[in-house]
Amino acid sequence: NAGVTQTPKFRILKIGQSMTLQCTQDMNHNYMYWYRQDPGMGLKLIYYSVGAGITDKGEVPNGYNVSRSTTEDFPLRLELAAPSQTSVYFCASSPGTPQETQYFGPGTRLLVL
């Protein structure tokens, strides 16, 4: 059972470039989340989804987009990369209701230069 997987593990982007961070879960969870973690700061919620076709903004959505076409996949899109988006990005999933445990992927480290 792989759980939550994320690709790539590490990426360097130039300012203005675009990229998609991939996230897949094999636990048949309805809820999926994207967080960013900056040094010395708590994880901040970017976007979340309660099921296929349904997404909603979190605390820090600006500069990002998401889609949820299947239960398993929840990609995060950066359209015009900025240095402020340098961070570690974590995808998570949970079975159903919000009070259930979220399970995290290994993270994608992104550096924007």
């Binding site: 700061m41 708590g42 919620l45 979340y48 009070q99 995290f104 993270g107």
Partner: protein, 107 residues
């Protein structure tokens, strides 16, 4: 606005030296309080969920407790492999994380 404050920011212990980490919170409509462990370069790993004041949960050398305003993670006779950052998070409409406590246990 939901807030989570963890203290201390960093803690250094000798192997076998017991201590506690604190997580104080303000939230409207607490649905759960979560403790995670995070190793360097890895994603958070779930430890405990607490749902109501007075609840306690244990796992090996760790014990989590909850009151109406804070939670404690007690570490009894820690070992070097317990070294990690411990994250606290509260669930209301979304999950709000604290900044974490970095624990270093020296042999």
């Amino acid at each position: 606005e939901d807030q989570v404050t963890q203290s201390p920011e960093a803690l250094r212990l000798q192997e076998g030296e017991s201590s506690s980490l604190n997580c104080s919170y303000t939230v409207s409509g607490l649905r759960g309080l979560f403790w995670y462990r995070q190793d360097p370069g890895k994603g958070p790993e779930f430890l405990f969920t607490l749902y109501s004041a007075g609840e306690e949960k244990e796992k090996e050398r760790l014990k989590a407790t909850l009151t109406k305003k804070e939670s404690f993670l007690h570490i009894t006779a820690p070992k070097p492999e317990d070294s990690a950052t411990y994250l606290c998070a509260v669930q209301a409409s979304t999950l709000t994380f604290g900044k974490g406590t970095m624990l270093l246990v020296s042999p």
